[in-house]
Symmetry: C2
Subunit: 370 residues, 2 copies
């Protein structure tokens, strides 16, 4: 996507073999890149949320393994590197998926050629992610187009967190249909949940929508329900960090509340995700590990002072503890449909099977079948 007229992806290799990423911890006020030189650089970038968003976490992990391989491409070292990367964040399934794919691709390659092969495979993974997101956009575009045909005003999409191009390699998941609609000349407006405590909506979604010229309004996470009650939301589209084989959607904490409000007000609620987000080994959303992050993300807020400096302020008194769980699970029954790169399907085992008949079924589901 474009920033100040130039085309960007969120991650790409440099001519010296470093991996360059946009430093998302400095957005929206500073657009800068940072070079990852080592495995530890990649792991730290994921952990500190310099890069974030399930697909981009996967892409960074893939390149992280390539960075490890250029120093030591032995099986033992790559095992260790994969473990280090996998331990960075527990919820996003794309991390597991990307590491498994890289290990599979490198297993049969002679050690001396592995670094080269790893860069090539990571690049393929990124290209495919961008292509999958583009497809998600085209699939979701039809939902927005249909809505636009029956509306005399711009189509109002509500989204939570950032599942735009900054969360992926390019295009985005939840925002891909929005970009596709906007680029197709359909009038669309996005309600952007600020997404406490890390403010990915206010900082990242608002930034990328503004950069692309898509009309939008930032709102408190608390407001979406009221807007739906008043008919001011036409559809909700969110991303996903892990989706079970039964269609339960794990996403940024607060997503479940929006799904409840959507159901209560007959607003369609969609999750947009590539197949790499689907955890075919799980059918129960309750079994997804929910990451607990440092309380300081909630008790302190970082922003820009009137003088232009970056400053962090405490907003919770020192005498009060705080709990910061980063995700929740929206049960499949509240999800109108899943938007994937292969099409739109019901959030159910049957729905996902219809699009992905080639995937292995989790044991618990296979056992439950007659």
């Amino acid at each position: 996507m474009r920033v100040s007229g130039a085309h960007y992806r969120t991650i790409w290799p440099t001519s010296t073999g470093a991996v360059r990423v946009i430093d998302q911890s400095r957005l929206p006020f500073e657009f800068t890149t940072v070079d990852l030189e080592t495995l530890d650089d990649a792991a730290s970038a994921i952990r500190a949320m310099v890069v974030r968003g399930a697909p981009l976490i996967g892409a960074t992990a893939a390149y992280g393994l390539a960075l490890a391989a250029r120093r030591d491409a032995s099986d033992a070292r790559l095992d260790e590197a994969a473990q280090t990367l996998q331990a960075t964040r527990p919820t996003a399934h794309n991390l597991v998926w990307a590491l498994e794919r890289m290990r599979r691709a490198l297993a049969a390659v002679p050690e001396a050629e592995r670094a080269e092969a790893a860069y090539a495979e990571a690049a393929r993974l990124c290209d495919e992610d961008a292509e999958r997101c583009r497809s998600i956009g085209l699939e979701g575009l039809e939902l927005i187009r249909r809505r636009a045909e029956s509306a005399a005003r711009p189509v109002n999409v509500l989204t939570h967190c950032n599942a735009g191009w900054l969360a992926c390699v390019d295009w985005g998941t939840a925002l891909a249909p929005v970009y596709a609609a906007h680029d197709a000349g359909i009038a669309v407006h996005v309600w952007v949940d600020e997404t406490r405590p890390r403010n990915q909506g206010a900082a990242l979604t608002a930034f990328e929508l503004a950069a692309h010229g898509v009309p939008h309004t930032v709102i408190a996470d608390n407001l979406g329900g009221h807007l739906m009650q008043r008919g001011r939301v036409d559809l909700v589209i969110v991303g996903s960090d892990r989706t079970t084989a039964a269609g339960d959607v794990c996403n940024k904490v607060g997503t479940y509340l929006k799904a409840l409000a959507a159901r209560d007000n007959d607003v369609p609620f969609y999750a947009a995700l590539p197949a790499s987000t689907i955890d075919w080994t799980l059918d129960r959303g309750e079994d997804i590990p929910i990451e607990e992050r440092p309380a300081v993300e909630l008790t302190h807020v970082t922003g820009r002072t009137a003088g232009g400096a970056t400053e962090t302020v405490r907003v919770v008194p020192e005498t009060s503890p705080a709990l910061n769980l980063a995700f929740d699970v929206t049960p499949a029954r509240l999800v109108t449909a899943l938007i994937t790169e292969r099409g739109i399907c019901a959030a159910s085992r049957t729905g996902l099977r219809s699009l992905y008949p080639d995937r292995p079924m989790p044991r618990s589901i296979a056992a439950a079948r007659p």
Copy 2:
């Protein structure tokens, strides 16, 4: 309630006839008071949320009229003063109620005696508010006690915004049952929604619970649904800024989302309120005016720097507009019961009638009756 060992109310007259209030815009990091000398001081304090919370807004309006009366107690001047006060904030019903009560009390009083009578009436109104809140606490205490009897761990209460003693003259509405339970030796723990965008939960509820020694944890507004899914919330208690004669509850924006989550997880959802919050002239929650406040409350956050200074930082990029609506309406069907100073009742016309048979019925409801 107590702050650093001393007993405080939120509002009281000084020996010189000024009205002293706790400056809630400086909490939680500074506990200071400010003296209101004129009607305009009182109106500004309400508008700028130096004082806030439906019952305290009512009490401040009552004293505001007394401040006006000591300069000019003519009917014309008091009419004008009431209009000024009523225009400060549109949603809280206690404001309308307090002004009507004051005008009624002063109507038959000779002009020369009105200032004295106004102070006396405002003081009575405050005493009664405190007493009503104490009664709400005792009524709600039984709900917590019953829950405690069947639990092997502290009773977990989730609350949204601040409906504690800082929102009232003393005791609070939603928090009154919590204080009553804590003081009765029942183990209780409060999940405190930070309550964006003004952070009344993080700043005020956390402050007053800590000051009183009640165990609590601050959470993002987004987290309550997940905690309910995991069985970590036993009951939700919120306050109300206006409750219709049919039991719809208008409260801080985001309340509706918690009510939906409570219903989806079989968690009881209570609103605690004195009769002064009930708008007997309205039966449909959709007819309550919803206040739009300045976007800057959402785009900027004020807190304390590491160096101890108060600083305001921008968190939404300049290129993005923001919308800040302050309340939403939870339909009566999602409210398990109302906790009032006269007892606990169903959130319905019949429920409220059973406790308040002496109140006039709104015309629309009377007309709908057979």
